[in-house]
């Protein structure tokens, strides 16, 4: 036991004196979180209501056209610049469409077959989906206006028209029951993603320390001191496990307290903290196992650094760390599920975005722990096989 305590103390001293490792483990992910949260804020943040602007010309100027225009003003997706000029220039940079109420607007209401009451023109470059949206909004406003008019003529009010005639609310858009369709905002995506990336980066200091000990024959010396390989490796893992937990706390604090000061959305920590800690522990177990495997495989410092860096970047790229999985095509989303970083990210997002609890992280945690166990067994076999290399 004293050998284990002495070894843990030694590893801790070595780690806190390794400024390069500390910069990689703490400063690098902090910068990534700040930069990526701010950079992706518009793409992944709360989208303001879509509003498309256009001209509105009323050539009818009747009570009916006034009421219709009032109805148009109630909707949120189109904004109008009212004009009396016949010159209504359209472009995708400014006014996207021109809606003209014809001089026969009120007459056309009485006899729609006679003449159209409105004309709608679009900027030539305007995308089809925007044209459809504008058309649908105008149609919807007109349906409200016309139904209300009919209802009033029958002695009913607007509420009756909407509820009994139009059945407003008949279709209700809902989030999926399990919240799976909820996408994280920039901070909810960046904080756990770059935290996971940083946690896996412990592979570099762990593997380089092991290789230095092997090359300098410090491991040989320790073995002649009667220290078992189990103690040597366990002692390395304890400080790095604690470093992973410290990373977790600091990165979450960064998201919760610093990012709002920089103008980004804040990360809410009103979540199941034990579940958050559990997914953090499972991620750490996987990161430590991967680090052990790299340490067992690599023979030189150059190999260790290159292998660790390459594996981490590859796992991050396919695992949804650098690019969120929900913007990936289906094939890449399937591929992402092979990355342990993706398992970890799924667990963190379940807790941080969807307020998940133990049941929601059971899958990711199991995958991470089983994966860690497999990597442990492989690295132990490699270390045992390599013990004959004096």
């Amino acid at each position: 036991m004293s050998a284990l305590i002495a070894s843990i103390r030694k590893e801790t001293l070595l780690l806190i004196r390794d400024w390069h490792a500390l910069l990689v483990l703490f400063l690098m992910p902090s910068l990534f979180i700040v930069i990526m949260s701010l950079a992706l804020q518009e793409q992944l943040g709360e989208q303001p209501a879509l509003q498309l602007s256009g001209w509105l010309q009323d050539n009818n100027n009747s009570r009916a056209s006034d009421k219709f225009i009032a109805e148009l003003d109630r909707q949120q997706h189109l904004s109008f610049t009212k004009t009396n000029s016949g010159q209504m220039e359209l472009s995708t940079k400014e006014q996207l469409f021109a809606l003209t109420l014809t001089a026969d607007f009120d007459a056309a209401l009485e006899d729609p077959s006679r003449t159209p009451g409105m004309t709608l023109r679009f900027a030539p470059e305007l995308a089809q989906h925007d044209r459809l949206l504008i058309n649908a909004v105008v149609q919807d406003a007109f349906a409200h206006f016309n139904t209300t008019e009919i209802a009033e003529s029958l002695g009913y009010d607007r509420a009756y028209a909407e509820q009994q005639l139009m059945h407003v609310g008949f279709i209700q858009a809902e989030a999926a029951a399990d919240g799976q369709d909820e996408h994280p905002n920039a901070v909810q995506q960046s904080v756990p993603a770059w935290l996971i990336f940083a946690m896996f980066f412990i592979a570099i200091p762990i593997s380089t320390t092991v290789i230095q000990e092997r090359q300098q024959r410090t491991l040989t010396r320790l073995r002649t001191f009667g220290v078992s390989m189990g103690i040597i490796y366990s002692a390395k893992l304890v400080p790095y496990f604690l470093i992973n937990q410290l990373q977790l706390i600091l990165m979450l604090a960064l998201g919760a307290f610093l990012l709002p000061l920089l103008g980004a959305d804040g990360l809410s920590l009103r979540v199941q903290l034990p579940a958050l800690f559990a997914i953090g522990c499972a991620t750490s177990a996987m990161a430590l196992a991967l680090a052990s495997l790299i340490a067992a495989l690599a023979r030189t410092l150059e190999q260790a650094t290159a292998i660790s860096g390459a594996i981490n970047i590859l796992l991050a790229a396919i695992g949804g760390i650098m690019i969120p999985t929900f913007v990936m095509p289906p094939l890449m989303q399937t591929l992402a599920q092979m990355s342990p970083m993706n398992w970890a990210l799924e667990g963190f997002l379940a807790v941080l975005v969807r307020g998940g609890s133990w049941a929601d992280i059971a899958g990711p945690c199991t995958r991470l722990l089983v994966g860690a166990l497999i990597l442990w067994l492989i690295s132990t076999a490699l270390i045992t096989r390599g013990k004959h290399d004096v």
Partner: protein, 300 residues
């Protein structure tokens, strides 16, 4: 004390193996283990320290089989086998910390190692910032923490200044005088010659030559170097098969003259020549070693 009996070991690579190695080291004895790179010295050290398991044969220490982590056997690797980012004292504290000893005993051993290797003045300095000489001392001091009965040193004076080399060799003599047996591998044959009681020369995984140093040198003695106050006559030069070396130094080829050292000296005395200094056997170990390695098995 240490008994290596018909030891054999084979790596996965068939050309790397150890064959039929036997040697004995008694308490208080120093064995100089010599051999070119790849001769099998490190493998033999690995077998003696229990890092490797022999394919056949045995290694016994005090009549019991050796095992990895034997408390009485300490190894000083050629590499600086410590942590550069820790101070001298932290390194010693760590290695003492992993020993199965009571805390006061550990403290005592740290103090003793610091004092014996004269490291107290640098005990708080980072090991990586020490000079080569102090690094060697620290490397050595860590082994002393084990208070070993058998100390195995692999090239302990490589890249060391003369002062630190002399210090290490003196410390080894002191330890030896206190009863520790020592296995010393080095490429500096002069060091081995001044330190060792026994010598074993390894090549291609076998011990080619071994024995007491004095026996080997007397058997192999072929010349003697003398510093004379004046040059001998041509007749005497011929009789002694002498050849002038640098300055006043002369080498007498005893094999060619068929004279014993005592006879050669008496001839010089009779000619009125004073012998100011004698170098006897100083370059001889190198000669024995080179002959052995180059295949001239003078002592199979």
């Amino acid at each position: 004390m240490l008994c290596v009996n018909q030891l054999a070991f084979s790596y996965r690579k068939p050309q790397k193996q150890l064959v039929d190695v036997s040697l004995n080291i008694a308490e208080g004895e120093i064995l100089g283990l010599l051999g070119p790179n790849g001769a099998g010295k490190t493998t033999l050290v690995g077998l003696i320290t229990g890092q490797l398991t022999p394919t056949s044969g045995s290694v016994h220490f005090n009549t019991k089989p050796v095992y990895l982590g034997h408390p009485d056997i300490a190894l000083v690797p050629q590499e600086y086998a410590f942590y550069p980012r820790l101070s001298v004292r932290e390194n010693l504290a760590y290695f003492a910390g992993v020993l199965k000893l009571a805390t006061p005993q550990k403290r005592q051993r740290i103090i003793h190692a610091l004092a014996r290797c004269e490291l107290s003045e640098v005990e708080h300095r980072r090991a990586g910032q020490l000079s080569g000489g102090f690094k060697r001392r620290l490397n050595f001091a860590i082994a002393l923490l084990q208070s070993p009965k058998l100390l195995i040193l692999d090239e302990p004076t490589a890249n060391v200044d003369p002062h630190s080399r002399a210090f290490l060799l003196n410390t080894l003599r002191e330890l030896n005088a206190e009863g520790s047996a020592i296995i010393y591998t080095s490429h500096l044959l002069s060091e081995v010659e001044t330190l060792a009681h026994k010598v074993a020369v390894m090549n291609e995984g076998r011990i080619q030559l071994q024995g007491q140093l004095t026996d080997l040198l007397s058997e192999q003695l072929q010349s003697i170097s003398l510093k004379l106050n004046t040059n001998p006559s041509a007749a005497l030069i011929s009789e002694l098969a002498a050849q002038q070396q640098a300055g006043d130094w002369w080498e007498l080829n005893l094999a060619a003259s068929q004279l014993s050292p005592a006879t050669a000296l008496s001839r010089l005395e009779a000619a009125g020549i004073t012998v100011q200094q004698i170098r006897y056997g100083q370059r001889r170990l190198e000669e024995v070693y080179l002959n052995c390695i180059s295949g001239l098995k003078e002592h199979p």
